[in-house]
């Protein structure tokens, strides 16, 4: 990567403290992390070490209590709720462990949702949704409801929904956690292909089998980055 080019994600001295009754949980502290465009970064670590918290902050679902976060060169602290929603919509694609499709919407409507919130015109939405569904091989199920699909199929739809808006980065939190190994592998292959096509991916996974997909693995322990390996 050339000198002087701004990383896509730039976290410096990031910290997150949760305050609950009588208890302070330091979920993250002193996290420095840069993610460049087109990178595939994997975050690993034991349960409760702060992986999901980190991803939430990167995805603007949560805010850090310390440190700085620049997304695409812009600081995102202190943005309004509405601006944060807009950035989530335009810059970030989420893939969750629990698929998290909306049960009252069809496959097509689920994938279309981020575009609806983007105020995009109907015809453009249609081409984009079609393309995304083709990408994950789910066009034939577009009229189905999530409950009528298998877990693997649901996760592929979730991937389609994450990529439909052409976000700057895909954030995946244990995307294979709820899948058997065959389906898990299929979803990972899909992420690999997307990365090959240029997508930036940041993924949390426990599963060492998929860690080698990533170019870089960040090891978290007790809210701190303890190791980084390139692979």
């Amino acid at each position: 990567m050339a000198e002087g080019v701004q990383p896509l994600i730039q976290l410096s001295d990031l910290g997150k403290v949760f305050y609950t009754e009588e208890l302070e949980t330091h979920a993250l502290s002193g996290v420095h992390l840069d993610i460049d465009r087109g990178e595939f970064v994997s975050i690993a670590g034991p349960s409760g070490c702060g992986k999901s918290t980190l991803l939430s902050i990167i995805g603007l679902l949560d805010t850090a209590t310390a440190g700085e976060y620049q997304l695409d060169g812009e600081p995102v602290q202190g943005l309004s709720v509405g601006d944060r929603a807009r950035i989530r919509n335009e810059a970030i694609g989420f893939i969750f462990q629990a698929f998290n499709l909306i049960g009252d919407l069809t496959v097509y409507e689920n994938v279309e949702l981020p575009l609806v919130y983007r105020d995009m015109r109907g015809s453009e939405r249609k081409t984009r949704v079609q393309a995304a569904l083709e990408r994950v091989g789910m066009v034939h199920r577009e009229k189905h409801f999530p409950a009528q699909l298998s877990g693997g199929q649901q996760q592929r739809v979730a991937v389609a929904r994450a990529i439909v808006g052409e976000p700057l980065i895909l954030l995946a939190d244990e995307p294979t956690g709820n899948l058997d190994s065959t389906n898990g592998k299929a979803v990972m292959d899909l992420l690999g292909e997307l990365h090959d096509d240029g997508a930036t991916v940041c993924m949390v996974t426990h599963d060492p089998r998929y860690a080698d997909l990533a170019e870089r693995t960040v090891h978290l322990f007790d809210g701190r980055i303890v190791d980084e390996e390139s692979g």
Binding site: F96, N100, G103, Y117
Partner: protein, 601 residues
């Protein structure tokens, strides 16, 4: 916000509704009771206060004289003339009185309601006859008939014009047919013109059409001044009496009416708020069950307004359903009231129905209520912590957890609401029927009592003061009827009209001065009254032949109520006490008390 986001919200709301209609319908029914009773009340007030349906009807006002001590007083012919000649605040002024006549046609006799008006009443109202012309002859030889009478009795025959009909003992020619629905002032079928000084107008009303730009206040002021200048000494009405202009349906309600009206309003308001809070709880609960979905919408970039919209649309769906059901509830309630109250509706234009205004009211109220119901749940939805919710490992995306407590609450509210609606309809019935104005005691059964109204319209009888003789002859004949136990005459139209139209007279015992109270209601009766109504006297004796006639020197006698004794003569022997009645204008009349009776009527 883009229209397709509305479309999305509606699509989701409808799918939620189809998926679990029960809770939505429950919410809608809860709202319907609140919205329905509010709409019912609105339609009721609208119907009962609708102005006279003639061109610029809001300018057509009754002129009444208000006596600050006794309430309403009669308008005299002199007042009428004074206004007519000298007042400048009206475009036109006319008088009307109503009576019932037997109408004789070739097909037979039937009773009909007649309006006796001065000739200028028709131009004042600005209503053109449907056929022919207005009657104009002040000798009463011409009449106009109502469309209803024309269509039934005269079978809609246009040749009715010029035909003679009998009105009691007079003959009049039909010269006009008034348009359909016109039955001014109450529910009249026939209009006859009388001279402006006819005694027939004695118990009538003065109607005026105000000039544009003249305020009621200013007109009332002018009318009052003219009246006071015209009447220097008038029986029973003090110089402080004022003239007032009021709309036909603007009854000066008494306290009981106001109290019931306000109670109704509060009940309805409470009901609306109660159903509102329950629908709000219902929506909160639904959103709680969908926290994860709400978080997901946020993660996908829904802005706060878009999240709020989703809940508001669901509230609108419930509100809309509630509004439609509520309008149906109001419609049924109004049908019920219309059938039960048909005889109590004074004016011909009073319609208790779900008109356009009522539907608009129901719609607007549903909208407001929906936004009210949805506001808190929408706000809570916006505040969903998306990061935390999505990080939780919960697998269930949907599936609604139902807290039984809220269902118990909703059920309790529904039961309460039904009870309140029934009570509200009852109150509304009471409001229109005013049963407190005829308060027959429990011991008395009216079944065997027949009442008739006697009006002296033969000017000769009124003029030579032979009323008493006529009445006595009439009573004798009635008593001679087989099966008649007793008969009586009382002054005042107490069976048909209101307690407050009894004459009120101030009372003083011995030489004490009159107080400044409004006085007590007095009913003038013949001796047979006590028998006829089977009144049990608590003490003393009933009236008898000794008490009739007006021999100079002997005080009149009176029977008073127990209540009166309790209030005015506590701990004293009351029979035989003397008291004076204020006759107005400084005249008094002495009385001796003969007996006490239970409060009646």
């Amino acid at each position: 916000m883009a229209p397709f986001q509305f479309a999305l919200s509606w699509r989701l709301a409808l799918r939620h509704f189809i998926k679990s209609p029960a809770s939505y319908l429950y919410g809608a029914v809860a709202l319907a009771l609140g919205l329905g009773s509010a709409t019912l009340l609105f339609s009721l007030v609208q119907g009962l206060t609708a102005p006279l349906p003639v061109p610029n009807g809001e300018h057509v006002l009754r002129v009444v004289v208000v006596d600050p001590i006794r309430g309403h007083a009669h308008v005299t012919i002199d007042d009428f003339h004074a206004w007519r000649m000298h007042a400048g605040s009206f475009e036109s002024i006319a008088a009307v009185a109503v009576s019932e006549r037997r109408v004789g046609t070739r097909r037979g006799d039937f009773p009909a309601r007649v309006a006796h008006t001065t000739a200028d009443m028709f131009p004042l109202l600005g209503v053109e006859p449907m056929l022919g012309r207005w009657p104009a002859e002040a000798d009463g030889t011409t009449i106009a008939i109502g469309e209803d009478l024309w269509a039934t009795t005269f079978e809609g025959d246009p040749a009715v014009l010029g035909r003679a009909v009998r009105l009691d003992n007079e003959v009049a020619i039909v010269v006009g047919v008034m348009p359909s629905g016109f039955r001014f002032p109450r529910k009249q079928d026939i209009w006859q013109v009388v001279a402006a000084d006819s005694p027939r107008l004695a118990n009538g009303e003065v109607v005026s059409r105000l000039k544009h730009g003249v305020s009621r206040m200013a007109a009332s002021q002018e009318f009052t001044e003219l009246m006071q200048a015209a009447r220097t000494d008038r029986e029973g009405v003090p110089a402080t009496a004022t003239a007032r202009l009021i709309g036909f349906t603007e009854e000066r309600g008494d306290r009981a009416e106001h109290a019931i009206g306000i109670a109704l309003l509060l009940v309805v308001l409470g009901l609306v708020l109660l159903s509102c809070s329950n629908v709000s709880a219902l929506l909160l609960e639904r959103n709680l069950a969908r926290t994860r979905t709400l978080a997901l919408h946020q993660a996908l970039g829904a802005r706060p307004a878009q999240i709020a919209l989703q809940t508001l649309v669901e509230a609108l769906l419930i509100g809309g359903l509630g509004g439609i059901l509520g309008a149906a509830v109001a419609h049924v309630g109004l049908l019920f009231l219309t059938t039960t109250l048909a005889d109590n509706l004074t004016y011909f234009w009073t319609r208790l129905e779900l008109d356009v205004a009522s539907v608009a009211f129901a719609g607007a109220l549903s909208l407001v209520v929906a936004v009210l119901c949805g506001a808190l749940p929408a706000w809570r939805a916006v505040r969903t912590d998306a990061g935390r919710t999505l990080a939780e490992q919960a697998q269930a995306i949907h599936g609604s957890r139902r807290t039984p407590v809220s269902w118990v609450l909703v059920n309790a509210q529904m039961a309460f609401a039904v009870a309140v609606v029934v009570a509200a309809v009852g109150l509304a019935t009471i409001l229109v029927q005013k049963p407190w104005e005829i308060d027959l005691t429990a011991e008395f059964s009216g079944e065997r009592v027949v009442a008739a109204q006697i009006a002296f319209e033969d000017d000769a009888i009124v003029a030579n003061g032979s009323r008493v003789e006529v009445l006595e002859r009439m009573l004798e004949r009635v008593r001679a009827f087989p099966g008649v136990q007793s008969a009586t005459v009382s002054m005042g139209d107490w069976l048909a009209s209101r307690a407050r139209s009894f004459g009120l007279r101030r009372v003083a015992f011995g030489d004490e001065p009159f107080g400044d109270d409004r006085g007590v209601p007095i009913l003038y009766i013949t001796p047979g009254f006590i028998d006829t109504f089977a009144i049990n006297l608590v003490e003393g004796r009933p009236f008898d032949a000794r008490d009739t006639g007006s021999d100079a020197g002997s005080a009149d006698v009176a029977i008073v109520t127990e209540e009166f004794v309790r209030a005015r003569l506590p701990d004293q022997a009351s029979v035989g006490r003397r008291f004076r009645l204020d006759q107005g204008g400084g005249r008094e009349r002495a009385f001796r008390k003969a007996a006490s009776c239970r409060t009646w009527p």
